[in-house]
Amino acid sequence: MKLTKRLFLGLAAGSALATLPLSALAEGWQPRRPIDFTIMAGPGGGADQIARFVQSVAEANDLTNRPLVPTNRGGGSGAEALLHLKDARDPDHTLMVTLNSFYTTPIRQEGLGVDIEAFTPITMMGVDPFVLWVHKDSGITTFEQFVERVKEMDGGFVMGGTGSGQEDSIVIAYMAGAYDLKIKYIPYDGGGAVAKDLAGQQIMATVNNPAEAKGFYEAGDFVPLLAFSDERMEAYPDVPTMKEKGHDFSYYNQRALVGAPGMSEEAAAYYREVFGKVYESDEWQKYLVSESLSPLPMDEAQTRAYWATQVQNHRDLLAKIAN
């Protein structure tokens, strides 16, 4: 046993020497362990892609002295990730990439006992708008024709989405309410699968993020009819918005980083600086443009206020769907 003790002491001394310059240079708080980078969705979706993009940018530019370890915890529509953060054993090293299930899952599954206002805001990387798509072979080119077609089919019009209570179903439910439409809604387990079945015309229309439909749009297979953004989108200047149609409704999927509840101020400040740099990097700015994300920079206080309004909005929207 003596041997091993000495070995460890030697290793410890060696490593202390090796890290001395680094820790002397560093100001303030630095992570000491690998950073748990929880993703609120399964592999392959938009949230996963963004998380891995952010991680790659941070890694490529050497922004953190400890690695970001991406882990998919998409179980129970993000409930798994929320519980993981809530009970994080080391809040200073636990971050999460969110989507809107951050708001909806705690409302829909009250038994979880998750209060998102306890979480620590880090950085808002951008918000992802939603667009209504149809296949070009349907012959529909405007939103008015779409409404007419849905009414004609009287309940036979089929749309796909990622499940009841998910982002796109909220948008579809709002649209159906506003125009008195009867739509048959088929849930899938991811935005990619939805886009594929629209391309194969298994379903007739979808509400997808532009990133998921872009490939088919560029090939001319998909036709965008309506955007659910505040203003017309740069990439789709001819597509009208829901607001122009006289309904005060816009809906975005948030792409934000949050820290575990109870994260220390110093740690939060550190991560805000790191991901602020990622946000400003050329790579991310290009990504925002190419994937049609809208920037929405916010500081901590603004984020908290934003959360409060989002929770209220979602509570109202979900209550409307339930009726």
Binding site: R52, F53, E80, Y188, D189, F216
Partner: protein, 503 residues
């Protein structure tokens, strides 16, 4: 002929020194990651994604594809040597690979797996090169009813797999299918079957948890108890001459399974919702059905290793197709590759073949080269894996337990799942004592999460009318074949019983 010149350019691109170097490193890394139970190509690809920022996009994707290939070869290694399917694609490989290893023929199993994988990969590459656009439209014509019909067919090919005890086999299938539905119901968006209200069940029960429990813990306990801890049958010998003989034997006894696996695997792999696992399972089932000696299956026939291995390699090449041409990932690994392409500023989708033809053909060229590299590297490392089996069993068994637990955590990141592994393991041991076949449960937990949602999506489409499975042009014939295959053994049984009564 245009295709051939594109392909030649692609192969030349893959043969550039830097790309060749990346292929060799990628395949080797992938092979070892794939050989660890619980780790698979998805881990390898995810970790190395940031590194690929340092090289041009075409080299980066070649590197990632090489890892993907290496891991597919590696999956067979843990199935054969440890008896634990490291990935769902390698489940069927254990059925015959493990018995061969216990007979002392682990090297035959590994050589067969390597050769079959090579053939499967190459056949798939040729299909891919020649018919990519056509196959993409085939993939699109598969909606939920077609996928469900395909799952039905996958089950049908496995009817004969269970033991002789029919109620116990039925129990095992139902058990796997119920476990598959634990967690969350995507259709209604509600939590479901959260057993004993433990929040850990919200994430569902993964295939890997059941597989490691059953094979890594349960089967090991059973072996230790049965042999009184003194295994002598695993006594592998390893010489170059032996390997050449193994290769001959593999070619002689495994060609049929390889052929079936290569073709069937590819077509199932191309369908985005299905992927490599159903492809390899169906190939095993079909190979058994078409064999003249079906009773050899499960007792260690090289054909039973060749079919699923050819299929899973062929299918994983096939799975690249919907990713490239439609931008739709067929598996978690291709999902991450897709993310990589977005990072490099490429838009996967119908335009990719036109807009980025150099990139696409470089990638396809690298498939051919990776496949050769994977075969050579895999064969070179076989003696190392065989050497592991030579360890005394009292050293090998704790190592398998440790790898099971560590690998189980690496795959799930949850202590809850580790406890489930222990519970499944001990449960599986007792069920094994009373001849409950557990392979059907493991298969069911893989196919269940595809079968249930597609069943319900189809019925939503048809407003609850089940004839949708018979009236659609592709789903109809598949459903009918599946039902006939399911009824066939029952009919035979009925006849046999009548014959017994009459005599």
């Amino acid at each position: 002929m245009e295709i051939l010149s594109f392909l030649a350019d692609g192969v030349l691109l893959a043969l550039l020194p830097i790309n060749l170097f990346l292929i060799v490193i990628g395949v080797t890394v992938g092979l070892f990651i794939g050989a660890m139970p619980g780790l698979g190509s998805v881990n390898g690809v995810a970790i190395l994604l940031p590194i690929t920022f340092l090289v041009p996009p075409s080299s980066a994707i070649i590197f990632l594809a090489a890892i993907y290939y290496g891991a597919m070869y590696g999956g067979a290694i843990s199935s054969v040597t440890l008896g634990i399917p490291g990935a769902s694609t390698a489940v069927a490989t254990t059925f015959d690979g493990r018995p061969l290893a216990l007979k002392g023929r682990a090297s035959l199993a590994l050589v067969t797996a390597a050769l079959a994988s090579f053939v499967g990969g190459t056949v798939a590459n040729i299909f891919f090169t020649l018919f990519a656009p056509l196959l993409a439209s085939l993939a699109l014509s598969f909606g939920p009813p077609e996928i469900f019909a395909l799952m039905l067919l996958a089950f049908a090919t496995f009817v004969g797999l269970g033991g002789d005890d029919i109620p116990k086999t039925v129990f095992s299938i139902c058990f796997g299918l119920v476990l598959a539905s634990v967690g969350f119901d995507t259709i209604s968006g509600e939590p479901r079957l959260v057993l004993f209200d433990i929040p850990g069940f919200l994430r569902g029960i993964g295939f890997i948890v059941l597989a490691i429990g059953v094979y890594g813990i349960g089967e090991m306990l059973w072996t230790i108890e049965q042999t009184r801890g003194e295994i002598t049958s695993m006594n592998p010998k390893m010489t170059v001459k032996g390997m050449v003989e193994d290769a001959r034997e593999a070619a002689r006894l495994g060609w049929r399974g390889t052929t079936i696996g290569s073709i069937l695997g590819f077509f199932v792999g191309v369908l985005p919702a299905a992927g490599a696992t159903p492809g390899s399972l169906m190939s095993y089932g079909v190979a058994k059905m078409m064999s003249r000696n079906p009773q050899d299956y499960g007792n260690g026939t090289p054909d039973g290793v060749a079919a699923p291995e050819a299929a899973n390699n062929s299918a994983s090449t096939g799975a690249m197709l919907p990713m490239l041409t439609l931008g739709i990932p067929g598996s978690p690994t291709t999902a991450i590759l897709l993310g990589g392409m977005v990072i490099w500023g490429l838009t996967p989708g119908p335009r990719l073949f036109v807009d980025e033809s150099e990139f696409v053909w470089g990638l396809i060229g690298s498939f051919y080269i990776s496949n050769v590299a994977a075969l050579v590297i895999n064969l070179a490392f076989i003696p190392l894996f065989i050497w592991m089996l030579r360890m005394p069993f009292t050293i090998l068994s704790p190592l398998i337990f440790v790898l099971s637990i560590v690998g189980g955590f690496a795959a799930s990141h949850s202590m809850h799942d580790l406890w489930l592994i222990v519970i499944f393991g001990i449960g599986a041991f007792f069920m094994r004592k009373f001849d409950y076949p557990l392979a059907p449960a493991v298969l069911a937990i893989v196919l269940g999460p595809i079968a249930e949602p597609t069943l319900r999506q189809s019925l939503l489409l048809s407003s609850g009318d089940p004839t949708i499975f018979f009236t659609r042009p592709i789903a109809g014939p598949i459903t009918v074949i599946a039902i006939v295959l399911i009824l066939l053994p029952a009919l035979k049984l009925f006849r046999r019983n009548r014959a017994v009564v009459h005599s």
